[in-house]
Symmetry: C2
Subunit: 399 residues, 2 copies
């Protein structure tokens, strides 16, 4: 008597959430210090101090009725312009605030894009490994998700696979770099090749194919790597951004959609994104944190801690004989499992109180994801457990 | 090439927004003090001081990473329990936090309910005059809205009309009291009669018909009136609430859905509401204001100002020969237009710089809505303009 789809979504806990809850229960049994929880992508470093300082300043000095009042549906005009100015300084562009639509985080930004763009029969292409909620959001808009496989070693998006998957039904392609769950950053070569494919196919089919760039991890980039600005490489790019990870504010739900005027039918796309926001009940992005984001959009949390954690994990795990992809950004490490079945591997890891998310849920069986947005000393204490886990496979047993 | 429905929603500005924008433009032409804007339902009194004090205290004393971190999808457990405790004290119930699902305001709460409940072919019944976004939200969930007419004089919901409209397709009935746009509060008799209709029809059709009580104006109630607690009158009631109006926080987007365990299939309904939240991209309600709401849910803004405004408007307008419905709560007055066509009446009022929203958009032609969440002295200055407007009709012309 209720919506079957919604009931399913509300009942089936995600694997990640399942592991996280198991961790809490296990901590109660054996002590929190004996559980090594790599399950959740919750930032472990505090926001830059200016975030709380600005919020306090606004609360103490601004007119309270206005500060907490409705903003226009697309967000406060001054806030949008401040974010546009920041993008312009960093990427040498000329955006105005009118190309930005502020959202209740990146999840809302993606939902507004999918719902705004999707016509009956449309498909969105996603490359594995991928954030599982993409499928939920895409299907919620009435479109279908088409999954492609990445380069098996580097986990880069595979332009040949993209070319094979794109069809006249393709409305858009989702790109997520730095990537959750792999920590991989797509190279300039990868992205140029992908752009070339989409340009050719757009011409062939006579309609634009949008590149939807989901960029919550844009600011978490490790030494030697960089994240190309996608609208500079491909005209029909729409950017979905969140301040959740860059400013360690995931609970506050503040992000945006950028629809550059250069994009095909940009006026219609922007209006449809706004219409989707209206239809889904997003009245405006939270007003206090709109202002905080405007003032803090040039800052980030201390992301060097994530890089230190990545280095420690990679060197230790490789020394123990594990194979992993070098994390280039975000706060995830993708590890090859020591048996083909990643669900079984994750279960075995639990016996050593290591909580690792199976790759199958990300469209990547044979891998597990480690979220290393954790205390460094927890990683240090976890290393012996990874050693025991590897040993248990060499001994060919242990259950 | 984009979703036609979303493009339409994003392009067609609401009549209210249209008038509001006209008012800003007109203010630039003739001076803000000469424009009498009754168009927007934005609270005009500040939040109680404890709201900003609590927010500052949380920002200055809590662990910043935790304060701004993800909460569980249904909201922080402590916050939910605090709100349940407040409801229990006020309405003599025994709710637990597990019956509450925190939302990004009432619009999100309604969307989660409609999307969670709607099965193919379902209808939701709404009584005129009604908040126009109901139609957007209901149709967005794939269901249809069925509009019924109220008692023409009191604008109370008409139980006979309800009985005639309910069918085997009816999944729910939306009730909004105190009402936007009329300011009417449904009486205990009205609600008991409506509940009796729904009980009988539920039995007849063999499935529950949910009463969805949209209560953003619950705390704004004028002397001599009270708002009955609907779950006490009808078992299968789901409450949608927002702190936007009670605490003057509409921009912060914080509210909840209450699915009492007494309701039919409450476990499934709660899960479906949560699943809808997930599908629509609502990760969690904003985390700082979850905590603020928990600590301030027993407070309200100074709503006596709204009551004073209502009194002044009603006595002045009646003295001028206008007919209106006595506002009983919220901050809206519904006024009979002086010609049959409310759109023409609203246009004529603009000539006197009076911005009144035509009733047609609320399903009530022949009326206009005045939002009196404005400065009292603006009302005082507007009265002569209402006199001129009435005079222009007596003179049978003026254009």
């Amino acid at each position: 008597m209720v919506s079957e789809r919604m009931l399913g979504l509300g009942t089936a806990r995600s694997v990640i959430r399942e592991l996280f809850e198991y961790g809490k229960q296990r901590a109660a049994e054996v002590g929190a210090e004996n559980v090594f929880d790599f399950s959740i992508g919750n930032p472990s470093v505090p926001p830059p101090p200016q975030v709380d300082e600005e919020a306090v300043r606004l609360l103490q000095t601004e007119n309270s009725t206005l500060l907490h009042g409705y903003t226009s549906a697309q967000g406060d005009a001054g806030v949008r312009q401040a974010i546009a100015d920041n993008l312009n300084r960093r990427f040498g562009c000329r955006y105005t605030g009118d190309e930005l639509y502020l959202t209740v985080g990146a999840a809302a930004a993606l939902c507004c894009c999918f719902h705004g763009l999707a016509c009956p029969g449309d498909e969105f292409v996603v490359s594995a490994p991928y954030f599982p909620e993409y499928k939920v959001f895409i299907e919620g808009s009435g479109a279908a998700m088409r999954l492609i496989q990445p380069d098996p070693d580097t986990l880069q998006l595979d332009p040949a696979a993209l070319a094979a998957a794109v069809s006249p039904r393709t409305k858009g392609v989702v790109v997520n770099s730095p990537n959750n769950p792999s920590g991989v950053i797509y190279t300039l070569d990868t992205l140029k090749a992908a752009a070339a494919v989409l340009e050719e196919k757009s011409r062939e089919y006579g309609h634009p194919i949008y590149l939807i760039s989901d960029e919550p991890y844009r600011e978490i980039v490790f030494e030697g790597y960089s994240v190309p600005w996608l609208p500079g490489l491909y005209r029909d790019t729409i950017v979905c951004y969140s301040f959740s990870k860059s400013l360690s504010l995931p609970g506050e739900r503040i992000g945006y959609v950028l629809v550059p005027t250069q994009a095909a039918d940009s006026g219609q796309v922007y209006a449809a994104v706004a219409g989707a926001g209206r239809s889904l009940g997003y009245v405006n992005a939270p007003s206090l944190f709109q202002r905080v984001a405007a003032r803090c959009c040039g800052l980030t949390s201390d992301t060097s801690i994530y890089e230190r954690n990545a280095g420690l994990l990679v060197s230790s795990l490789r020394e123990l004989g594990y194979t992993c992809v070098q994390p280039q950004g975000a706060f995830y490490l993708f590890l090859k499992t020591l048996e083909a079945d990643d669900l079984a591997f994750s279960e075995r890891a639990k016996e050593f109180n290591l909580l690792l998310v199976p790759g199958s849920g990300f469209g990547a069986p044979g891998w597990v994801r480690l979220a290393f947005c954790v205390q460094t000393e927890m990683i240090q204490r976890a290393i012996p457990k990874f050693k025991e886990l590897a040993q248990s496979y060499r001994e060919g047993g242990a259950d």
